[in-house]
Symmetry: C2
Subunit: 957 residues, 2 copies
Amino acid sequence: MVTGCRGAWVAMAAWFAFSIATATVFLLLVLSRVSQAQVFFFPFRQPETCGHNEYFDISALSCVPCGANQRQDARGTSCVCLPGFQMISNNGGPNIICKKCPENMKGVTEDGWNCISCPAGLTAEGKCHCPTGHILVERDVNGTLLSQATCKLCDGSENSFMVANALGNRCVRCEPTFINTSRSCTCSEPNILTGGLCFSSTGNFPPRMTSAARYGELGVSLTSEWFAKYLQSSAAACWVYANLTSCQALGNMCVMNMNSYESSTFDACRLFQFIFENTAGLRTVHSFSFWRQNLPWLFYGDQLGLAPQVLSTTPLPTNFSFKGQNQNTKLKFVAASYDVRGNFLKWQTLEGGVLQLCPDTETRLNAAYSFGTTYQQSCEIPVSKLLTDFPTPIFYDVYLEYTDENQHRYIWAVPVLNLNLQHNKIFVNQDSSSGKWLLTRRIFLVDTLSGRENDLESQPRLVRVATQISLSIHLVPNTKNGNIYPPLITIAYSDVDVRDPTSQSVEVSFSVRYEMDQGEAHVQTDIALGVLGGLAVLSSLLKTAGWKRRVGSPMIDLQTVVKFLVYYAGDLANVFFIITVGTGLYWLIFFKAQKSVSVLLPVPAQEERFVTFVGCAFALKALQFLHKLISQITIDIFFIDWERPKGKVLKAVEGEGGVRNATVPVSIWRTYFVANEWNEIQTVRKINPLFQVLTVLFFLEVVGFKNLALMDSSSSLSRSQSSYIAPYSRILRYAVSAAAWLVIALMQIVFFVVFYERFIEDKIRQFVDLCCMSNISVFLLSHKCFGYYIHGRSVHGHADTNMEEMNMNLKREARNGPARLLSSPASTFEQSIKAYHTMNKFLGSFIDHVHKEMDYFIKDKLLLERILGMEFMEPMEKSIFYNDEGYSFSSVLYYGNEATLLIYDLLFFCVVDLACQNFILAACLTYLQQEIFRFIRNTVGQKNLASKTLVDQRFLI
Amino acid sequence: MVTGCRGAWVAMAAWFAFSIATATVFLLLVLSRVSQAQVFFFPFRQPETCGHNEYFDISALSCVPCGANQRQDARGTSCVCLPGFQMISNNGGPNIICKKCPENMKGVTEDGWNCISCPAGLTAEGKCHCPTGHILVERDVNGTLLSQATCKLCDGSENSFMVANALGNRCVRCEPTFINTSRSCTCSEPNILTGGLCFSSTGNFPPRMTSAARYGELGVSLTSEWFAKYLQSSAAACWVYANLTSCQALGNMCVMNMNSYESSTFDACRLFQFIFENTAGLRTVHSFSFWRQNLPWLFYGDQLGLAPQVLSTTPLPTNFSFKGQNQNTKLKFVAASYDVRGNFLKWQTLEGGVLQLCPDTETRLNAAYSFGTTYQQSCEIPVSKLLTDFPTPIFYDVYLEYTDENQHRYIWAVPVLNLNLQHNKIFVNQDSSSGKWLLTRRIFLVDTLSGRENDLESQPRLVRVATQISLSIHLVPNTKNGNIYPPLITIAYSDVDVRDPTSQSVEVSFSVRYEMDQGEAHVQTDIALGVLGGLAVLSSLLKTAGWKRRVGSPMIDLQTVVKFLVYYAGDLANVFFIITVGTGLYWLIFFKAQKSVSVLLPVPAQEERFVTFVGCAFALKALQFLHKLISQITIDIFFIDWERPKGKVLKAVEGEGGVRNATVPVSIWRTYFVANEWNEIQTVRKINPLFQVLTVLFFLEVVGFKNLALMDSSSSLSRSQSSYIAPYSRILRYAVSAAAWLVIALMQIVFFVVFYERFIEDKIRQFVDLCCMSNISVFLLSHKCFGYYIHGRSVHGHADTNMEEMNMNLKREARNGPARLLSSPASTFEQSIKAYHTMNKFLGSFIDHVHKEMDYFIKDKLLLERILGMEFMEPMEKSIFYNDEGYSFSSVLYYGNEATLLIYDLLFFCVVDLACQNFILAACLTYLQQEIFRFIRNTVGQKNLASKTLVDQRFLI
């Protein structure tokens, strides 16, 4: 505006200033160009900021003065005449004209258009004033203005029962209770006037010791204006006249007081109970003994043990399912809603977020009632929003609707567990044993009414909010068709002390849980654990016995016990692993694949046992893994070079100047080569562990297998962005990741065994081939009296030769037909030997049967020996060599222990995921630990190899 | 209930049936036990299903018959007397007693308590009937019942202007317009009665050719009851009486018609324009020429080119910032809201989701107005919900509030671009050029009113919903303090044809975008591209020249051109990479770190250029990578064995039986060893690429670096679950991932170079050492006339010996002091040679300077030669060997091309992420391609090695 004015001024200045120098004109043009740029701002005025004789112009959004003899009206957007002025023109809004009334007619009529003389004084607004109970008469019946207004008393006699209405301009019939009680329109002593109703003090008036107190959370109690006004009257109307809405209103007050009652105080619930007890003669509704005719149904009985009976005796006569067209996949909750005065509002389904205070889209809100979907929602809500959205509380009686075979619709009452209920000052519903619970019926969400003191229009001192609402649905044990017990609504209210509604907020949550009794599952896992644990003991004993034989020590000493424990740890880890994977897959398959519901997932509290099992499996497996690692990096290894010197050559002896016959040295490079390769295959595995980690991650996160772990009934791999995402089940996460891990590992193993190792490369076979080609045998002593022997004596006799000969050797091999290079005489052998302290040379002669006193013989292993992994025959006089078709020596490498490594990695991944619920973190950490252990295995293994074979570390690259 | 009854019956039966056999008793006991289990279900009855003489018992929730002479009331929850029956008792609800009226008094009074004789007939409800314009008088002024009801005509004369009210029980003053027009309470011809108002046909009544049509989307047009009823009257009242609310109501109708107008039809907007034009004499509001006094401000002018002037001439006189306590981080939008009848409702801020139809929590909704947060929200809303929540439309005039230096509050009008606006049947606002736009002011969200035909209470035929609301905020160019131009609200409405409200739904969205002119940034990247592109050409020319020299061909042929293009591709890829990373980091740093806002992120449309650049960089880099890969797997390699036979041994010749002197063969195993190691170092890299991928993934996803790529002002690494998550910026995603990739790679390289290769192992040095120990030199010919030579002649003369001697050699080395094994004479050399077709032996003699005609000399490389990577001196007569301190031969391995590989991997990762916005997928695919190319490089490289060196592939393991 400022700029606009200046622009106009500048333009005018420019108009009259042609004579001024060009520079000035240019400057002005620039200025006027700027001024042309229109600005669209003006001061921000609000109706409240306008003065008393100003109105808020709703077009210009600013304050404008009213006309003469006028002032602002109540809303502030229009003008009215001052008292003593009559309106003579009104074109709507502020366009009115006022005129002073003549001296003899100082009053203005109610409609403001005429002046009139008043019988008594004037009100502040300049209207005629009449005494209470009188009506003001300004006009004839047909509307003709009287010259003098009169005040008339309404005819309260027997025939008319008339009384002035609230506006004081008409007589209306008085309240029926007045007539009933006193046959008049006055409620004089000893009759009792309360809440606008009149009751006779004689007869069956309820006990008068009523308390208007509204109980808050411990310690907070205030005198509620609502209770003070209407508690006694609604109780009396309910009892005396059996008035339905009054009974409902009384019930609502009891619910607002958290259904709490004591026998001593006559508060809302005690009054309700009083009426309930004293109307025992009336019949009950629908034959429910807790539901008296005319009264709302608020309580179940207060017998001990009633709650478990209500909750888990009778299943609902309907079946639920997860999928299918014409099947029951929705929990159809309906609620009868009442306003605070006791009027029935309507039947409404709970869909669309009736009980959910947190805002969300319809689809996501309705997911709460899709059978089998565990639902959780929570948010913070500003108190100011609660005050705006819930001026009065709405009360809900919740039912579950179902249809019987004949398509008749029935509803089943849903019990409520109000955690704030106090019975004789004890929070009975917070007890862990359901036997002590007092179930109730009616709930509300937000109560901003009962917390108002002194005035029903003021801001409440306290607001009571249902901060936690939880629906729990129990499956009937051993059901095959999705039978459930009646659902239970657990509700917790909080009181908010209202100080600054805009900055205060309250945390609310809504959840739906599905439970079933997991006792049977626990028994079954216990049985499995017992049986498999026993087998594990047996297996460990066998392994320890085998180990004893291999180390050649017959005594049971501490080392034996330790060894047994280590073996047992490994076996027990397998047992835990099998049980956890089995359980996980059981839940995954049976929960997700079922149509008619027969199992439900364990709730988080029931998962603890499972998580402990996984933890045990991991800890024990880690022990086994470390044990294997340590025993692998301390094995004894020898290379036997079968090459013999080719002869002698003449050699100049240094220093002496002569020539001597010297043996041609056998080149050590073949040994270096073999040692180098042995070093390299130490951490070769049957699968690619990194591919494994990344593929598992890919399938879980990108393909969406992780969606299978959601606690809902869908078994689809993707969720649309607009649909509700249920929380994860830890068991299902474990099951899905373990299954993905195992399946991918299996596919990798199959790929490597069937394709890769056959057609691309097989590191282990390559090593054995190399031994053979280099004419070097490998002696591996994994135990004191047990080891492996890779027979590498070359078929060609000599390997230490030049390339032509080597190539000829290789070609000769190729010509000899399809037999593989080393298939004919050489192979790997296992070996049990009696002594350890032998040397390289000695070993060669030993293999050549040179020492008659330490001979050996070769035999095949028995099937049972293969299966058990131990030897039955003890080498007494001769050592025994067992033929070995597979590469059993790989058990001193990573390669031969794939199962242990795989399960260890898997458990590491799952344990990290169970702890953090993050597959990416689990993948990264799994990779990291793999690398660390691989590095340790490589480095220490290399050092061990160097020290045992005397091959310099510089050749182990 | 059914079970309950049967239970009781069974119990009774059991009582009287002791004599029956035990089996029956047992059966009955079982049955009665079942019956004890209480069931809480009953039939589902709704008030609508009760019969006419039944009421719905709100306590028992079932239908109950009314008493005698009664029927259901309107709500269904209570009873009323039948016509002709008076009420004689009423205890609330259904507890009433009715009595037949006597024959002489057939009418019932309005309150239902008395019988009265009627002057004329009876209504259907049994009340007295009076003719129109008359009021029914049943009682005296003081309430005494008359014996005979009378009908009276209201006094419509000059003094009283009285007319019967709607209920027909009282006389009230008639509408002021009637009095103004006709000085009576009737609106007779030629006056015009419309919308309950009376207008004189003479004088300034607006054109009568008004159309009640409401325009829908193309083709749909219906006669709206609201328009038919109130259009003419509000236009007339607005014009004739300048009534503020009528003007607003007329404006609202124009807005409901999408502000569309044609010059020919007198519809709502044309009428508005008519009044606007004909009140030009009145002053404008706040000096805005588009805002006439008394009228709402609906349009900006319709001059061509006005929109750009309004939108981007004057910046708002306030500054915005991203952070800070006392700074402006909120866009404070306020809206003046009006109801459909034109009443001003209130000023309200847009916070709390006033314009956002999708439900969400307060925090997330308010994030829309946090400066700098790009906001997007969309959802589907059921039509039934719209019908319930928006019975009448609310209209908003949106302003942006700000405070000047003196703490005065101002508001700036926010212009609206209504995409559905038709100006002379053309959708001008859908034009891409803003010069043609017609800006407007007022908006609404949902209009269920104007789509009602015939009846304002019926279900509408059409519902109009603002399905897309978008707020766009433009930064002033070159601002340093966050100055913005006025925001623009772009709004698109959709018409929904209401057929089945519960199943229909409508997709709505709300978004806030921040834009700035990216022209300058584009110019800058273009300049950078030009300059760096020129350098790239230069560099590629140099490289091509170097290559020409190395291949020894002076001619420029097709191959040269291809080579140039390949080099150019590589250099250009680097240029694109530098520009994209630079741009990305610029946005990341300058956008996220600023306090006073000076830059805003490019919007998705502006990102296209950037994405193209990244795509180019990747494609060109891939070309370079493939070129390197191919040239690496086709190099020529030779091993020179310096070992000489140790002498001659006697050897038995096969077949001849004699003995011959034979040379002791030099063992080939050292060559095998060296070849094997060469094979192994082919794909060794300076970093661990898998660690790289997983660490990047870890930092992006787990640590939360990806949150830096969100289009909001926060630079924190984590977002709370309850806060709003802005959409991702593709540029920022690229910047964050590239930065993470580069930093982690740098740290890896530093770690490997400074620590790992020095203290743990260095594969390249190990290989060189091995060459030396094994007395074998390696000749690598990467080009026709250029290659590398690793000099491995052993200092000990002989390497082909047994372990004792080798260990002695090694020990001697160690004693000789700190000099490294191979540091003294041998090192790696580069070599330019003239001929290619030489043999192993020839090479050895060549190195030994045997061939005088092909001699060579050794020199150091010049600094510039090192930098440019080419040789200046052309070998004319002698070959040249350059000393090489680093391991330059590694450029034929992965090891020496780390930069190319790293950038290629990075770009691969980023391209996948740009395409899919999924870091996990990008990581998995990057790993996969790495593995595939590594496999190819290994396998083909191994084959090449085997074929070039004649070493059997079985030794390359």
